[in-house]
């Protein structure tokens, strides 16, 4: 897996070079993480993996409550990451810091080489490259499903209505909702709402997709249809981070599992490795409870 990424990145070597300085600091801090992808470090000399998201010592506190206590990691372009951990471990906050829906209180985040915490960075432009899917969908209730999807491409990207409309219908077909285009969100089931919300994010042609517990608010019989859509996106070139409690899905769809506990990234491993031989006691306890 690591070798593939190294191969894919050649075209972007300039960008990676820019981050060279940060990479060293990042490596130092992440030393505490049970790192199973040791190979990437060894190849640093000639070719580094194409890093889409670089997180360095990320911290977030709400008043006196430290939710993230220093997370460091790199997510490669096209990588699918499942973020798991007990509730309150900081999974959602971690995700929300990546597009600055939450303002980090410390550390650094680079998206495709852009320091998003730099005051001079136009965060709105960066966000246009990052899709986000929420637990509670957050479709715009006063617009039809079709308008929900067309809105941002037309207003933000300046696409023509025809172009955006064609894209919307294409996406609705892909998520199995072509017949619901002219319905208002209130007429859809939870699973349909979430698929429409995914289509809305995809309409912006994001390079990164963040899924914040996308199936946690759904009735059990609707979980599958949403997971199938997400699974269909994996390995199409989009970098994906999925906060989820669906262990089976994490195991099957992800390249890497992040195990967060108490604001720290305790483990980072391919799913096979993580689910069969977790390295930390906390992960073992967690897996005992959920599996």
């Amino acid at each position: 897996m690591t070798d593939e990424r190294i191969g894919a990145k050649d075209g972007k070597s300039e960008m990676t070079g820019m981050n060279g300085g940060h990479a060293e600091t990042g490596g130092g801090i992440s030393a505490g993480v049970a790192e199973t992808q040791a190979a990437s470090g060894g190849n640093a000399g000639n070719a580094k993996p194409d890093v889409m998201i670089r997180v360095e010592n990320l911290q977030k506190s709400f008043g006196k409550l430290n939710v993230l206590k220093g997370i460091t990691t790199d997510v490669a372009r096209g990588e699918v990451v499942a973020v798991i951990g007990p509730s309150g471990s900081g999974k959602s906050t971690f995700l929300r810091c990546l597009n600055r829906l939450e303002e980090p209180t410390g550390g650094h985040v680079w998206i495709d080489g852009i320091d998003i915490l730099d005051r001079r960075t136009d965060i709105t432009r960066v966000r246009q490259r990052i899709g986000m899917v929420f637990q509670h969908f957050h479709l715009f209730p006063h617009m039809t499903v079709f308008d929900n999807i067309c809105y941002a491409p037309v207003k933000v990207k300046g696409w023509s209505r025809e172009q955006a409309g064609a894209k919307a219908m294409d996406l609705l077909t892909r998520v199995g909702l072509a017949d619901k285009a002219n319905e208002y969100p209130s007429r859809l089931s939870g699973g349909q709402k979430q698929r429409a919300a995914i289509a809305r994010s995809l309409a912006m042609e994001p390079e990164i997709m963040l899924f914040d517990e996308p199936t946690s608010a759904l009735d059990p019989e609707m979980v599958k249809e949403v997971l199938e859509v997400i699974r269909g996106l994996a390995h199409t070139g989009i970098t994906m981070l999925i906060v989820t409690h669906e262990m089976k899905f994490a195991r099957e769809a992800a390249d890497t599992v992040y195990f967060l506990d108490n604001g720290l990234l305790l483990e980072k491993a391919p799913p096979d490795k993580f689910f069969t031989s977790p390295q930390t006691e906390r992960a073992k306890q967690f897996l005992d409870k959920v599996l």
Binding site: Q128, G131, F134, F140, P141, H142, A152, R200, M204
Partner: protein, 219 residues
Amino acid sequence: MNLDFGVLADKWQYLLGGAYYTLLFTFVSALFGFALGTILSLFKISGIAPLRWFATAYTSVFRGTPLLLQLAIIYYATPQLLNYKISPLLAAGLAFGLNSAAYLSETIRAGIMAVDKGQREAAIALGVPYRMMMKDIILPQAFKNILPAVVNECIALLKESSLVSVIGVADLMRRANIVSADTFRFFEPLIFVGAIYYVLVLLLTALANRLERRLRRSD
């Protein structure tokens, strides 16, 4: 009983004509108040402290003093201060608009706060700039939520507009007073314009109900 609606035989058209001024004036001040109220509500939720202070002070002053006093100051003091002879209609529209903006800004602010926080986050995550998000996502939902309260404000404006009779605008109330002075009869002209006010309020309510039904289409 001394009651004779016959005295209105040649006056009723004149009285009814006052409805034009009453409506014009309600419409203008409601529109002005709504526009200014929206701006003030955005000031109140803004991250820029001086804008918040200004909007808060504005609301405090315009809610804290009588409307009739504000009307008198604008109508009588403008010529003295600015050397500009302000027309009664303009003065009244200004006073009522400024006043209702103070009330509406609070209503609209509450409407904005009541829109689910997730709507904002969804728009932000899509990379929608703040102004567009407010205009296309947040305010339409806020306005829908507060429509009943805005209708209340419009009805109040329509009735309070009778205050403008004191500065000589020939609205319904003023005309009833003129007819009373002409005929030395009070009950008939007053009850007649009273009925007109009531019908106007009923019409306004019916209009608002239709609008509300249309907006509820998406529910």
